[in-house]
């Protein structure tokens, strides 16, 4: 495995040049901050700050209930692994309007940077393929980021983007942490 080179703070704005076109659900910690920075904590965003493992399934519920919207889950390698079976659930339902972007920094950044499984033997893109995703993409260089834009727009859904990044700090963005308020905000804007 080649060493990661991408900075997580600079990747989402490149693969989502028009973030207003999407509904976002994120995992906790770094992926939540990066996506809050992308959308300026917009009304099209619901971030988690707990309930590790819930992001993919919550996004699936949104995607199935809003089939005319493009729905994206942005999450981390640890969050995804905590409920990895949800990939099988998504593959079976196969919602065309659904994408998962996994920001894989190979560690548990929020709790002290402890080494994660993806720094060892685990390959999340292969796990997505094994679950039944036919559209998967590995992005680990600047050049491949451009490919991510067309993949997210054109590949048949559901899509899985495996985004390998260095284990640096996530985006600095202070988001609303009141989850009842955030629920109402999202529903009201929909």
């Amino acid at each position: 495995m080649t060493p990661a080179v991408l900075d997580r703070r600079k990747v989402l704005s490149q693969i989502f040049p028009n973030p207003d076109d999407y509904l976002f659900v994120t995992g906790l910690a770094g992926s939540a901050r990066d996506t809050a920075g992308l959308t300026k904590d917009g009304t099209n965003l619901f971030t988690m700050a707990g309930a590790m493992g819930a992001a993919t399934s919550m996004g699936l519920g949104v995607a199935m209930s809003a089939p005319n919207k493009k729905v994206v889950v942005v999450t981390g390698d640890g969050e995804l692994l905590m409920n990895i079976g949800s990939l099988a659930t998504v593959a079976t339902i196969a919602p065309a309007n659904f994408s998962i972007v996994c920001i894989d920094n190979g560690c548990h950044g929020e709790t002290g940077g402890q080494t994660g499984h993806t720094s060892n033997k685990t390959n999340l893109k292969m796990m997505a393929e094994g679950a039944g995703f036919s559209s998967t993409l590995l992005i680990e260089s600047e050049a491949e980021l451009a490919q991510g834009v067309s993949f997210l727009n054109e590949a048949p859904g559901p899509r899985f983007v495996h985004l390998r990044v260095i284990d640096g700090a996530p985006t600095v963005f202070k988001r609303n942490m009141d989850l009842a308020e955030c629920r109402i905000r999202f529903r009201s804007a929909f």
């Binding site: 493992g53 699936l60 659930t89 989850l179």
Partner: protein
Amino acid sequence: MSDTEPVDWSKQLFDHLVAAGITLFPYVPDAGNKRLIEYAEEHNGVRPILLTTEEEGVAVCAGADLVREKAVVCMQSSGVGNIPNFLSFVNGGRFPILMMISMRGDYGEQNPWQYPMGQAVDPILTAMGVLLFHVDHMDDLAPATEAALSATFKSGKSAALILSQRFLGAKAF
């Protein structure tokens, strides 16, 4: 439930839930929800969602709520042991999550493995702020279902419709 059961309670419950506007039925398979899910598979206006673990279903229901749709997560009582951490966003975010729980480990259970979790269902759900509506007899089904629907989709609470083994019948070992 025996084969001679004259009332198709699964159909009654399914029709009641559909009439309330529920469109998604995420589930972990259980004998107690088998026919309910078969009705969901046959109905054009709703979608069953096969899960790998019950907590996924809680999150799917919350996702549906974010875009103003309604769902019910169907699970065996064992699954209640898998969901408490996800009930943190249900409780803290005031998501109106509805659960249909088919019991093991209560009335007439013959498998000793089922008792610990079965007996912990009510205290766990109560601790996480979920309201409980029990069904022990056929006469309970419609009013308990209506009460659970009112608690969730009219009053913004989370609620569990709990079908006991007294109602379902205990599995023979």
